[in-house]
Symmetry: C2
Subunit: 112 residues, 2 copies
Amino acid sequence: MSNNQLIKGTLQTIILKLLEDNKQMYGYEITQKVKETTSGEILLTEGALYPALHKLEADGLLETHAQVVDNRVRKYYALTEKGGKEVTSKIEEAQNFIEQLNLLLNLKPGLQ
Amino acid sequence: MSNNQLIKGTLQTIILKLLEDNKQMYGYEITQKVKETTSGEILLTEGALYPALHKLEADGLLETHAQVVDNRVRKYYALTEKGGKEVTSKIEEAQNFIEQLNLLLNLKPGLQ
DNA sequence: TTAATATACATAATTTTCTTATGTATATAA
DNA sequence: TTATATACATAAGAAAATTATGTATATTAA
């Protein structure tokens, strides 16, 4: 997924969150958005992204429609109703995860 | 490692950080410390912990000495010099990872 | 006394989730 | 015409978990 092995398990959450904010996106667009947002710190590889999208679709969290733009096929993904419900809990999970990791690594001793 | 699949890849960092703070610890002690610190949110499984300790030792980041306490063997782990250097960069990596994840999931819009 | 729980280690089979490599195809810029 | 960008996909392999199992001692509860 990138140069950082820590990011395992977060890809699904990232995809779902982006689709919550953007209604519909295609794979390449997702890689570019993540690259921009993280100033190039996180670079999605196709070998990670596409299988993840296919799995989310197979699990009923995403639905697709293909569209031809400039003679190239784009496959747009959007949240299903089920996917929309999942986003919330996935983000809460991530938030809790970050809190616990902060505690364990002592990253925010006081926090305020 | 626990009920949270997000924590993949962070186990090594957690172990190294605990050993930076505690000089020496044995496996079971590490599981209990993590459980305490996270109020039971992160529960290390033995199948994850012991192989991780063995790998860190094989990589020269940890060294061990066995000790018998109450007729039971404890295997204490401590940072090597190499391990001591690694902790710092591993924690920086984790910190950066959390920052990027916060950006992507929009967990701290303003941050201050 | 005996069954359950806690302490303490370990490994094997399997699964999940990546990386790396490869493949197809079109458009554009050097 | 070659490299880069856009756009999809999959296969082989590696890394790092989960789940299950095994050994052994100590303590607590039924």
